[in-house]
Symmetry: C2
């Protein structure tokens, strides 16, 4: 053969990887078939030997970005000492470096709005991958497997993603740094609360009724 055995699948993977960066940086409309192929060292005509359509590629790029995010968290948690796993994930997340690298960063703040505009299949896939993320974070909580751990994971994730987005909107100055710092402590708050002796507020949280 002219090419190695896995040549085509490697090319395919390379295109998807590049696309997932562009997707996060510029949104779905920022992925141009010609640009992408050029970046992969090919010409635009060959694109359709790899994907049925541009939309199909976008679906794969979404999946790749979300998988990459989960994978990084898992790796980071594994490398941290017991009892500091969650803090390690949070503190690695809310940094200037992550704030300034949207293309290689977390899929949630970059693609949260974008996923709503994707086709139903992609949206469904993203929802499933979000479930995986929550379970992954939930596993880093003090008592994994419980309902409380799951709720804390959701709250922590929301605060992480929200803080990163706000920090990005705020630019790169002291305002932005302030948000990152605030987010770092706020994201681990549910856990800190549970670690500390309980005071009734946690077990049966009173929710305001003015929904």
């Amino acid at each position: 053969m002219r090419y190695s055995k896995d040549h085509k699948s490697e090319t395919h993977a390379r295109i998807v990887k590049n696309a997932s960066v562009l997707l996060r940086e510029k949104g779905a409309d920022g992925i141009g078939v010609a640009d992408l192929m050029k970046e992969a060292g090919l010409t635009h005509g060959g694109f359709y030997a790899h994907f049925n359509s541009r939309d199909a590629l976008i679906g794969e790029a979404f999946a790749h970005a979300m998988d990459q995010t989960t994978h990084r968290w898992r790796k980071r948690a594994e490398q941290a000492p017991e009892g500091q796993k969650l803090a390690s994930v949070v503190n690695g997340y809310l940094t200037p470096a992550h704030r300034d690298d949207v293309g290689n960063g977390c899929a949630l703040p970059a693609l949260g709005a974008e996923v709503l505009r994707a086709n139903p299949k992609t949206r469904k896939a993203a929802a499933l991958k979000l479930e995986e993320m929550i379970e992954m974070v939930s596993d880093q909580m003090p008592s994994p497997g419980t309902k409380a751990a799951r709720r804390d994971a959701i709250a922590t994730l929301a605060t992480m993603l929200g803080s990163l987005m706000l920090a990005r909107m705020a630019g790169t100055g002291t305002f932005s740094s302030e948000i990152l710092e605030t987010g770092r402590s706020a994201a681990v708050r549910p856990v800190e609360q549970r670690k500390a002796p309980q005071r009734g507020l946690n077990k049966a949280r009173s929710r305001s009724t003015t929904a």
Copy 2:
């Protein structure tokens, strides 16, 4: 005059308003000049009597969306009884209705990623408006004006916006409802903590050093 005195400025405002909905729903690339003018009952050629370019309109649409968001919060806070202002804002925010109406909803989850791709002038304007939002939320905190109130406002805002994004990604089922509910209690947590007798954790929050 053929038209009333404020006719032109009214048309201008109408275009911007429509654009700000589309901007939130479909992103900046979802704003088509022709579609927009048709929606305003006009033809595409007249667009440039109102705006120097499509990009200029986008800038105005951003500003409008963010102002509208802040305005709604302020109104909601004003209408709520003392001591429940923040809860009212949060509980009105994390609802299925808001989740399902991106176009008329909060600018932050819809435009957070989008604003990064806007031109520098628009980005700077958005950062300033974000400051306003934080101050606005900060004013609803137990001791407004303090550093703690500002930090709590940032954390609350981050959790609100993050929860809404996650809920949207999760679709419209029970998974999504779970996220909204979790977010409602998590968003007001910093305040609930301060209301309760302090226990040292708040005043000098220990931040993990593994940044």
